[in-house]
Subunit: 139 residues, 2 copies
DNA sequence: TTTCAAATTTAGATATAATCTAATTCTTGA
DNA sequence: TCAAGAATTAGATTATATCTAAATTTGAAA
């Protein structure tokens, strides 16, 4: 199976139509582990046909996040970043430049049931903070 | 020592002048574990004297975060929320309403040194996601 | 106490990020 | 082929946060 077919399949098996614009977003995120912002994705997708409007880019990112194929990472004071939820991993967020980097995944202990109360837990996310390699050198 | 003196002291020992406006932000966050947004803090502080402008509220929140007295929590698609960094704790963020709730703290295993590379780790933050008690009931 | 430079505050403008609107185009299945 | 729903679009709008430049306040030196 080609990559294209795999993307098409994963979209459709998640209940999302595979449109040209949606495909372009998904393909860009899968070949790119740099956690781009919506603006960067919009720009990248529009460097070639087919075009995609800003509204569509945001709509599709929202749909893909809902379908569980894409993860949105909120960063304090900066635009949200996105990545394809391929292999499980954690994130390192740089205090200085805001870059988001992948970190090896390891299982995180669940909170005690009594502490969870009536809440329904979907996932536990571990975020490391500090200085990325580039910013660490400069300080 | 009164609470007021304690706040004044903690500001000054963190190298931040204790101005009336800064004090009001800090006091509001310390008597309030609801993780208010900047807009909510601005409004609360301005319900009584002394007044504080929007710019000052944002400036002071930035200064207090830098001093380590306040934590900023970015939430996807919503305004950032703030809390006083008193006792260590984790956060639960509701997928549905975006509310941020405190969870008991427990130690998180550090990433492997090889995985960290040249990065400098400041903190590891555990975020639980799912539905808060109120939203869980309604679904 | 007086004085002054630095820090802080302010109102309002501006910038940035994200969503909404309503018209159009595309897709799918009958 | 055709109708209905889904998706896309340009541009307006909203939401969030920062910037600017002038005024005020502060603390420490004199
Ligand atoms: Mn990632
Ligand atoms: Mn908290
Ligand atoms: Zn960095
Ligand atoms: Zn909720």
């Amino acid at each position: 199976m080609t990559d294209a077919e795999a993307i098409k399949l994963s979209l459709e098996s998640s209940g999302v139509r595979c449109t040209a614009q949606r495909y372009a977003v998904m393909a860009f995120l899968m070949e790119n582990n740099r956690h781009p912002t919506a603006a960067e994705i919009f720009e990248a997708v529009n460097r070639m046909d087919p075009r995609s409007s800003r509204a569509t880019t945001y709509n599709n990112l929202r749909d893909l996040v809902q379908a569980g194929l894409v993860r949105e990472v909120a960063v304090e004071g900066r635009a949200a970043r996105f990545d394809a939820t391929g292999m499980k991993h954690h994130h390192f967020i740089c205090d200085h430049c805001g870059n988001v980097e992948d970190m090896d995944w390891y299982d995180v202990p669940r909170p005690a049931s009594v502490s969870l109360g009536e809440r329904i837990l979907r996932e536990s996310e571990l975020i490391f903070r500090g200085l990325c390699a580039k910013c660490a050198l400069r300080q």
